[in-house]
C-alpha cells in the first residue's frame, strides 16, 4: 500500500490553475494519446472513422469504442472520487455482478422492470455504503476494506442467481444495455449524462474542493472543520452506485446476469483509466472528464488490437506497457530529470 517516504519536502510545483482555456485542452497528454491511438487504428483499418446512420442510430467503429468503453467510463467516474480521497475501491467489479444479478433475478420472478432497476441501484448504494462504513467507522485501509466485498461479492451474486446465468427478455433492461437515444447507444448516453452531472456537482459546489482536501490530508481536513467521514461515506456510496449502473448495462447487453464473469477485472481497468486521466493515487487533485477520456483510451487500444488481428490476450501486455510508461513519467525520478533540462522549469 502507500508507503511513507523519507522525502518529506513539500512539492515545489505550484498548484495548476483550475480554469484553463479550451486551447490547452488539445495539448493535454491524454488527448494527444487518444488521438494517437485513434490514428493508429485508422492506419490499421481505413474505415475506422466511418460513421453511418442506419435504423435510427449511428453505426461505426468509433461509436463502438464509445459503447464498449461506457461501462468502464462509468466505473471510472465513481473511482475518480474515491481515489481523490486517497482511497481505492476494488469491489466495483463484484458490485456490478451483484447489481446485474439482482435486476435479472427480480425481473424473471415477475417484478416490474422499473422496480428491479431501482432495486439493483439500491443494492449498489448499499454495497458502497458498506465499504464506506468499513473505511470510516472501522478505519480500515480502503484497499483491504473493499477487498472483503471483492472476495465475497461474487459469492453473493451467485447466491442471488443460485449459480445459474439468469437470462431475461425484459425490454427495459435490454434497452439500458443495447437501446439508443438520439442515435447514440444508451450506455454512451448514460455515461455522458453521469459525467456531466458529476462534474457539475463537484465543480459548481464546494464538494470537489472538500474531496481534494480530505485526499491531501484527512486529519488536517477534519481539524479544519470538515466532516471527513460523511464525505468519505458519500464518495464510496457513489462509487457503488456507479458500479450498479455499469452492472445493469453489462447485464442488459448480454441479456443475462453472469455472476462469475460480469465485470471481472473491470475494477483494474477503472483504476487504470483514472490513473491515465492524471488523478494521483496519493489523493488530491482529480478530474472526472479526464478519467472518462482514460477509459476511452483503454477501449480504443482494445478495439485497435482486435481489428489488427492480434489475440485479445495481447491486450494485457499492451496495458501493462501503458501503466509502466505512466508510472515512469509520474515518478519523482523523471520529474527530477525533466527539471534539469533547460527551460523545463520557470
Amino acid at each position: 500500500m502507500t508507503r511513507p517516504t523519507a522525502d518529506i519536502r513539500p512539492t515545489t510545483q505550484p498548484p495548476l490553475p483550475r480554469q484553463r482555456p479550451l486551447t490547452t485542452f488539445f495539448t493535454r497528454p491524454q488527448v494527444i494519446a487518444l488521438a494517437a491511438v485513434l490514428l493508429v487504428n485508422w492506419l490499421l483499418f481505413p474505415g475506422f472513422f466511418t460513421v453511418t446512420w442506419q435504423d435510427g442510430r449511428f453505426f461505426g467503429s468509433l461509436i463502438d469504442v464509445l459503447n464498449r468503453g461506457a461501462p468502464v467510463a462509468i466505473l471510472a467516474i465513481g473511482m475518480t472520487m474515491v481515489i481523490a480521497t486517497k482511497g481505492v475501491d476494488l469491489s466495483v467489479g463484484a458490485v456490478m455482478a451483484i447489481s446485474g444479478a439482482t435486476a435479472a433475478t427480480l425481473v424473471t420472478s415477475g417484478v416490474p422492470a422499473p422496480v428491479a432497476v431501482l432495486a439493483a441501484l439500491g443494492t449498489g448504494l448499499l454495497c458502497g455504503l458498506w465499504n464506506g462504513i468499513l473505511v470510516t467507522v472501522l478505519e480500515i485501509q480502503p484497499i483491504i476494506a473493499t477487498l472483503v466485498l471483492m472476495v465475497a461479492g461474487r459469492g453473493l451474486a451467485q447466491l442471488i442467481t443460485e449459480g445459474y446465468i439468469v437470462t431475461f427478455s425484459d425490454p427495459l433492461l435490454i434497452f439500458i444495455g443495447t437501446g439508443s437515444f438520439l442515435g447514440f447507444p444508451m450506455p454512451v448516453v448514460i455515461a455522458a449524462v453521469l459525467m456531466l452531472l458529476a462534474t457539475l456537482i463537484v465543480r459548481r459546489t464546494a464538494l470537489g474542493l472538500l474531496i481534494e482536501a480530505v485526499g491531501v490530508n484527512r486529519s488536517a481536513a477534519r481539524f479544519a472543520g470538515l466532516s471527513a467521514n460523511a464525505l468519505l461515506l458519500i464518495v464510496y456510496t457513489f462509487a457503488g452506485f456507479c458500479a450498479a449502473i455499469s452492472g445493469l448495462i453489462v447485464a442488459g447487453d448480454i441479456r443475462g446476469a453472469d455472476a462469475n464473469n460480469a465485470g471481472l477485472w473491470l475494477e483494474l481497468d477503472a483504476i487504470l483509466a483514472v490513473v491515465i486521466g492524471g488523478t494521483s493515487l496519493m489523493g488530491g487533485r482529480f478530474s472526472i472528464p479526464m478519467a472518462v477520456l482514460g477509459a476511452m483510451i483503454i477501449q480504443a487500444m482494445n478495439t485497435g488490437i482486435l481489428i489488427s488481428g492480434f489475440s485479445p490476450e495481447f491486450n494485457l501486455v499492451v496495458k501493462s506497457a501503458v501503466i509502466i510508461v505512466i508510472l515512469v513519467l509520474q515518478s519523482p525520478l523523471s520529474a527530477r530529470l525533466f527539471r534539469r533540462l533547460p527551460g523545463a522549469q520557470k
Binding site: 500500500m1 522525502d7 472476495v151 490476450e313 494485457l316 515518478s331
Partner: protein
C-alpha cells in the same frame, strides 16, 4: 509478548473450533487422509501466501502472485514439451525468471516511488499477457518425472498420504519461519513495515530489502507454479486466477497486520488451512454450493480485520 501473540492464538483457536465443528457434522473429516489432502490441495496457495506474508509484513501488497503462478506453469510446459528439457532444468529456469520478475517490480516500487499495488498490477497484466502470448491454449505435460513424482508419497498413520507437493509446502513454511524471525533480512522486513523512514534512518538498506522482498514473493509464486504444474500436469495461462486474493485473505486471517510490521508466518499456515477447511467441508456436505466458499472466506476476512482493529486499538491504552 502475550498480547502480541493474541491474534495468532485467536486464529489457532478458531481453526480448532471450526475443525471440531466440522468433525461433529461430518465424522469422516477426522482422518489423516483428509489432512493429507488438505496439504496437497492447498500447497500452491500456501507457498504463494508465504511470499505474500513477507510483502504484507513490509507494508506492501503483491497482486501479481496468481499471474506469476499461471505464467510459470505455461513456461514450464513450454520448456518441457516443446524444447524437450528435463523438468528439473525447466523448474530452475522458471524460478530464476520469476525471481528476476519480482526483483524488477521491487526496484520499480522503490526507485519510482509508486504504491506497490499499482506496480504489481502492471506485473499481473504483464505475466498473464505474457503467458497467453506464449501459448493461449492449455498444454498437457507428459513426462516420466511427473508420473513418478505424483506417485511418490509418505504414508501417514491412518492411511493418509503426504505427497511431495505437500512436503514442499511444509518445507517452505519451515524455512520462511526461520527467515522471518531468525535472520537479519527478516528483521529488516519488520522494520520496513513499521516505518520506512525510521528504518532508513536506522540504517536498514531500504532499496536492497524492498527488491529482495518482491523477488522472494515472485520466487515463491514461481515455486507455487512448479507445484501447481506437478499437481495438474498442465500449463495454462489462466491457471490460478484470483489466487492473490486467497493469499491475501490467508495472510490476514493468519493475524498479520495489513499496515505492516506485525505478524507471523505460522499464522499464514493456519489461514491457509482454515480456507482449506471451508472448501473441504463444502465438498463433504454436498448440499452447499461452491459459492459459499467465497462468502465464508469474505466473512472470515472481515471478522479478522475487525478483530485486529479491536486488539490494536485497545492495546496501547491499556499497557
Amino acid at each position: 509478548m502475550t498480547r502480541s501473540l493474541r491474534p495468532l492464538l485467536a486464529t489457532t483457536l478458531i481453526f480448532l473450533f471450526a475443525y471440531m465443528l466440522a468433525v461433529s457434522q461430518q465424522p469422516a473429516m477426522l482422518s489423516t487422509r483428509v489432512l493429507g489432502n488438505f496439504l496437497t490441495d492447498n500447497a500452491f496457495l500456501g507457498i504463494a501466501a508465504v511470499g505474500m506474508t513477507f510483502v504484507i509484513l513490509s507494508g506492501g501488497i503483491d497482486l501479481s502472485v496468481g499471474a506469476v503462478i499461471g505464467f510459470t506453469t505455461v513456461l514450464i510446459a513450454v520448456l518441457i514439451m516443446w524444447l524437450q528439457l528435463h523438468p528439473l532444468i525447466a523448474f530452475a529456469i522458471a524460478l530464476i525468471v520469476a525471481a528476476c520478475f519480482g526483483a524488477v517490480m521491487g526496484a520499480a516500487i522503490h526507485y519510482l516511488k509508486v504504491p506497490s499495488f499499482i506496480v504489481t498490477l502492471a506485473g499481473m497484466f504483464l505475466a498473464r499477457g505474457g503467458a497467453s502470448v506464449l501459448s493461449p491454449d492449455s498444454i498437457g505435460i507428459t513426462h516420466p518425472f511427473y508420473t513418478s513424482v505424483s506417485k511418490s508419497y509418505l504414508l501417514l498413520p491412518g492411511g493418509g498420504r503426504l505427497t511431495v507437493v505437500g512436503m514442499i509446502m511444509l518445507a517452505v513454511f519451515a524455512v520462511a519461519i526461520l527467515l522471518a524471525h531468525r535472520t537479519r533480512f527478516g528483521s529488516n522486513v519488520y522494520a520496513l513495515g513499521g516505518s520506512e523512514t525510521s528504518a532508513a534512518l536506522m540504517g536498514v538498506p531500504v532499496a536492497r530489502t524492498t527488491i529482495a522482498i518482491y523477488a522472494l514473493s515472485s520466487f515463491l509464486a514461481g515455486l507455487a507454479g512448479v507445484v501447481f504444474s506437478l499437481y495438474t500436469s498442465a500449463g495454462y495461462s489462466l491457471n490460478a486466477l484470483g489466487v492473490e486474493l486467497d493469499a491475501i485473505a490467508a495472510v490476514v486471517i493468519g493475524g498479520t497486520l495489513l499496515t505492516g510490521g506485525y505478524g507471523f508466518v505460522a499464522g499464514t499456515f493456519i489461514g491457509v488451512m482454515l480456507q482449506g477447511l471451508v472448501q473441504t467441508y463444502i465438498v463433504f456436505d454436498g448440499t452447499l454450493s461452491s459459492w459459499w466458499t467465497k462468502i465464508v472466506v469474505g466473512v472470515l476476512l472481515f471478522m479478522f480485520i475487525v478483530l485486529q482493529r479491536l486488539v490494536f486499538r485497545a492495546g496501547p491504552r491499556r499497557t
